[in-house]
Amino acid sequence: MYYHKNLLRKIITLAFLIVNVDIAHSHHSSAMFDKNDIRHVDAIVKEFQWANPHVWIQIYIENQNGKQEEWSIEGLGTNGLFRKGWRPNSFKPGDIIEIKFNPMLDGSSAGGFIGAKLTNGKTFGRW
């Protein structure tokens, strides 16, 4: 009886653990990003800045005039991302990727990272 109670308690705790894992935290307020707007675009990686407090992916996106525009996409910190499977070379200059992000509210060419997919099918973040 005691064993069953203990087992049940462990299962409940495990369920709470799974539900309660905090999935994201920004070093600063993320209020500048429009959480209601999700951009999903093709992009070319210019640079991947693997550094704290946040990683940044510099990408080129083709604008409406067919011109390449540089955008800065902000991710979380290196340590938590590493534990989620990211690596310092996850994105290499010249990589063609699909990327999802929340753009800045004021229309600036920057955004908050949501997810990305490489041409080999590997994904990062929420995809």
Partner: protein
């Protein structure tokens, strides 16, 4: 006969050397001190983006820093007004988080609600709480010392902590924290005064969580003791802890008005409104 004497002498020498080696352990044993195993790497169990007291957070799933999300400690009238002003700043993205400038620690008790991972180093004479994010180091002395006298202390981010072991529960008190001048408890803008004192009990639960029960008293900010409980869960064996150099590539400086800027790769703000 001489041979027997030599054997006894040899045994005495071995035993006495071992006794000397074991002396510190024996002295701890005299205090009935059996330290708990808090080894490994841990992370905060509670979510809500670092809301400090999730038991009173509304809405219950609300995250720190989101407009309209707050907690309900037993605040004095003055402190409730201060908190409301900060909540208004949060709503317009103008509440500066002191740790966003990458120069100062989060301080206690906020350091119990940070992202990234934790280590709890337990030694007979002191326990260290090390947070990867920041990083922060908190020392809780358990060597019998008392809290420093008023003339021997000044306000700091982490304060002064002393405690003792009650079986496998660490009981400690923290005073002399810098409070609202330079710290917040979370991004909802909750603060305490520099008169705050924290009494804490920290122990491992049957489920393997590390539980911290806090009783916060603050004659200026609180009308009665504020009870807050936080937990940590142990990550898988082998989890590593990494360097966290916050100033390494901080592309989000805070302006004097509290606005968070976004810098381009050239270091210049790319915010259109700036």
């Amino acid at each position: 006969m001489a041979n027997k004497k030599n054997i006894l002498k040899f045994i005495f020498m071995i035993v006495s050397q071992w006794a000397l080696f074991l002396l510190p352990i024996n002295s701890y044993a005299q205090n009935n001190l059996t330290l708990p195993d808090w080894s490994g790497v841990w992370e905060r169990y509670e979510g809500n983006g670092g809301m400090f007291d999730i038991s009173t957070t509304k809405p219950p799933e609300g995250r720190a820093g989101r407009p309209g999300v707050r907690q309900y400690p037993p605040l004095t009238k003055i402190w409730e007004e201060k908190y409301k002003k900060n909540l208004e700043l949060v709503a317009i993205d103008r509440l500066p988080d002191p740790i966003s400038v990458c120069g100062t620690p989060a301080g206690f008790p906020r350091l119990l609600a940070l992202p990234d991972v934790y280590e709890f180093i337990v030694r007979p004479e002191q326990t260290w709480i090390i947070t990867e994010n920041g990083p922060n180091i908190m020392r809780i002395y358990t060597d019998g010392r008392t809290l420093p006298k008023p003339d021997d202390r000044w306000l700091t981010y982490t304060g002064e902590s002393v405690g003792y072991w009650e079986n496998k529960t660490l009981v400690f008190k923290t005073i002399s924290m810098i409070g609202e001048k330079s710290t917040i408890l979370d991004r909802s803008g909750m603060t305490l005064s520099d008169q705050a004192e924290v009494n804490a009990r920290m122990f491992k639960t049957d489920e393997g969580l590390l539980r911290v029960e806090l009783v916060i008293e603050d004659s200026i900010a609180l009308t009665e003791p504020w009870h807050v409980t936080r937990h940590f869960r142990r990550l898988i064996t082998g989890t590593r802890v990494y360097d966290y150099a916050c100033a390494e590539n901080n592309r989000n400086p805070i302006t004097n008005s509290g606005k968070t800027l976004t810098l381009g790769p050239d270091g210049k703000p790319i915010d259109i409104e700036f």
